[in-house]
């Protein structure tokens, strides 16, 4: 999917275009761990057109050989001050006014989909961001703004971005102002992504060694050692959680989720840690476990090779900050992945470590932007302390042994933390700026 590599900033809340984008992707969605919002699902209009061009889908929103006659005027039924944006105008129709609530009817007069945002010239904060505004579409958007100087910034999917004229809002406004954010650009995020990938790569030799230990134990017929080493290796892999999407088929080979209909120990299709787990803990002859245990080692080797050309995009790192925990809640806290070891709490502990790691790489960008960063980090740490309290020297309390009170405290803490982490993805949603047109 090289066509998505230059994807413009994604709207994480907009899944309305998912179907069209999925139409262009076939190679990475076959694993049995439908965990992540893939980048293909969240790339905006800009990438749709690119995908469409590659796979030959006719895209109504643009494309050189699919020119759509622009509507001659905005849809007057859309509420707000009529504002025209496009490939040669940006913010036409706005002349400023009084501070307070501003409602715009943004009309894209071009044949390209685009993103439009409104920015405070002095602080650079963005207060209103309309993504995936289709060719000829008119959409209403509002923000409550204090006095100051603002301008629109328009990012067509293919043409050069445009900066609109500066306009003033005057007077005083005592009401609540929409929360704005200084945009984080793809260039800002690139170092964080590189650091993250370097960290993952740095963990792989350890993971491979630990997976090899499991395979060796199994070959020797030492079930106790194999179980112990399995937990160690699996936890290492689960700390890398941020990277599932980048791992693609490798993740299926290493850590596929057990079927809900076939017992994992009987499921010859199941591969990876949970297959080995099922066989170990169900007492299967170690001879039967040799192949799946050795296969994990091989798969980790593949992963190292594949990570030399990672598929991650800049917006992914912010998304992962909460998606790791979203998946821990969905698949671990429920016991969904348990194939017999009853170590879901150990997995959650590893996932929390991975979350904290991921957050650390983007932390410099969040300082000054995320008003709840300190609280998020405190909650994350408190959640991990609570989870670790169920580790009794390597023996983790099984989920079904938690008292109701323990369970409720655990659920509350993790759910609270993931609410806060979800803000990180919003704040780190990459936005091109006048200084970075990539």
């Amino acid at each position: 999917m090289k066509s998505t590599e230059n994807a413009a900033p994604a709207d994480v809340a907009d899944d309305g275009t998912a179907a069209g984008q999925d139409g262009g992707s076939t190679d990475e969605q076959v694993d049995r761990r439908p965990l992540w919002r893939s980048p293909k699902v969240i790339v905006p209009i800009a990438a749709i057109a690119a995908i469409a061009a590659v796979v030959g889908i006719k895209a109504g929103t643009g494309g050189d050989d699919d020119a759509v006659a622009a509507a001659p005027h905005a849809d007057a039924s859309v509420p707000g001050t009529p504002i025209t944006v496009g490939t040669d105008v940006c913010g036409q129709g706005w002349t400023g006014g009084k501070a307070g609530r501003q409602t715009f009817a943004l009309w894209n007069n071009s044949i390209e989909g685009m993103e439009v945002y409104l920015q405070d010239v002095a602080t650079r904060k963005v207060y209103l961001d309309v993504e995936a505004l289709g060719a000829t579409a008119t959409r209403s958007a509002s923000a409550d703004l204090g006095p100051g100087t603002y301008r629109f910034f328009c990012i067509p999917e293919e043409s050069e971005p445009l900066t609109g004229p500066e306009e003033k809002l005057t007077g005083t406004y005592d009401g609540p102002v929409t929360a704005g954010v200084v945009p984080i650009t793809p260039n800002d995020l690139a170092p964080a992504l590189r650091s993250y990938l370097d960290w993952v790569r740095g963990q792989l030799p350890t993971l491979k060694r630990q997976a090899q230990a499991v395979a060796d134990d199994v070959r020797r017929g030492d079930r106790d050692a194999a179980e112990r080493d399995w937990l160690t290796a699996h936890r290492t892999y689960e700390t890398l959680g941020a990277a599932y999407d980048a791992f693609g088929d490798d993740d299926t080979a290493i850590n596929a989720v057990p079927s809900t209909t076939v017992p994992a120990a009987q499921d010859d299709q199941l591969t990876g840690f949970h297959r080995v787990e099922a066989l170990l803990w169900s007492g299967a002859p170690t001879a039967r476990i040799r192949q799946p245990a050795a296969a994990i080692v091989t798969a980790v080797g593949h992963l190292r090779a594949d990570l030399s050309t990672p598929k991650l995009q800049t917006q992914d790192i912010g998304l992962r900050a909460h998606e790791i925990l979203e998946n821990a809640i969905q698949f671990e806290l429920t016991g969904r992945t348990d194939a017999g070891s009853h170590t879901n709490l150990a997995t959650i502990d590893a996932n929390l470590t991975g979350t904290a790691r991921t957050l650390s790489f983007i932390r410099p960008l969040l300082v000054g932007r995320d008003p709840h960063l300190g609280e998020t980090e405190r909650d994350l740490a408190a959640a991990q302390r609570l989870v670790k309290s169920f580790d009794h020297g390597g023996r983790w309390t099984p989920l079904d042994r938690l008292t109701r009170g323990q369970r409720e405290a655990l659920d509350a803490r993790l759910e609270e933390t993931v609410e806060l982490l979800s803000q990180v993805a919003v704040i780190t949603d990459p936005r091109k700026t006048a200084g970075e047109t990539q």
Binding site: T178, A179, V181, D379, Q423
Partner: protein
Amino acid sequence: MTTPGTGCPFHPSPASGPAGSPSTSRDRGVSRRGLFGGALGAAASAPAAVLLAGAARGDSPSPSGSGVEVTDGAASYPFHGEHQAGILTPQQSAAAYVSFDVTAEDRAGLRELLQTLTTTARFLTSGGTPPDDGLLATAWDNGVVGPEVAADGLTVTASVGSSLFDDRFGLAKAKPARLRPMDEFPNDALDRSICDGDLLLQLCAHHPDTVNHAVRQLMRTTRGGLQVRWRQDGFQSPPRPSGTPRNLLGFKDGTANPSVDDAKLMDDLVWTHGGGAEPAWVEGGSYHVVRKIRMLVEFWDRVSVREQETMFGRDKASGAPLTGAEEFDDPDFGKDATGEVIRFDAHIRLANPRTVDTEKQRFLRRSFNYDAGTDPNGQLDMGLVFTAFNQDLERQFVTVQKRLIDEPLVDYISPVGGGYFFALPGVRSEDDWFGREMFT
């Protein structure tokens, strides 16, 4: 419910100004989402004075026994008042009962949690434009009821369970005197996992989507401080064809409710007063009994109507007592001293013998039907979320329930869950919050 002669005791009025003064810090397990800034205050000032047809009927008390329409109601009910809404409020058609355990870690966390619940409930019951977190957060509102939130007759009634008064929050001395874990009566089959809880939210509205929206918003704003212990949704049927709505046994249910228009009567039967054994803060609250009563409807449907009517003491079609002709005729036990018409063990005779002594044992019922799919045997799991508001749990509900032990009806019903709660006094003003006086 829709009791005979019940009018709307609340006169829908413009929402009373901005929705309060949300705090700006957070701690101890309450999501910061609960602490939205001034944006909500502005949003909630949208007036909610629009009336639906018939909503103003409560202005003129109707004579007892007339029956009322239930398919309409006010667009909104005032959130502020001496008492909480959702008690005397004409019964809406959709309900959710959500019982929570408090996971906030300490007393300050509980206070903050209750303040957050208040702020969110105030907004939801008033309606308006949801707050906007701008570009720093995902949308505050889930959008289930569209971009503008209509109050849609929503009431949020907050009630506390006895476990809230254990040693966690330093509230032991504030416990309402009669509050305790729900009793297990001889005919009960309680599943304790769906009993009791620290805090019950009873959410009622004209439509199920409004209830769903409210459940989700209230839970999201309190993510770290509350965990659901049990939950049951319910619905109120329309009158079929008139009068009091029917339960899922096919009988009108709530006919003999005391009139909510009679303020003196409500003061004697529903509202709890401080003093005596009770702490002062309970003034204006009410003991809130919720019993999830499964009805064994397959079995029931195989019982003759005649036998069903004997068990209740009422005519199934009209709801009239077997001594009378119309639904709201009073049962005349005096003329039936031998129990030949309405048997001594008939439900209505045991529940309300209509003697001078038992007058003060009456309480206000506000039950909803529930339908929860099927059990492992393929039998339908449905019944009644029996709901009662009492001034004095012991004198009223418990006394009456004891009389009902081993009534013939017990073969066809099975109480499985619920709890005893105390509906907090009303939130008086913008500065007030649920249970504030518990902490004084």
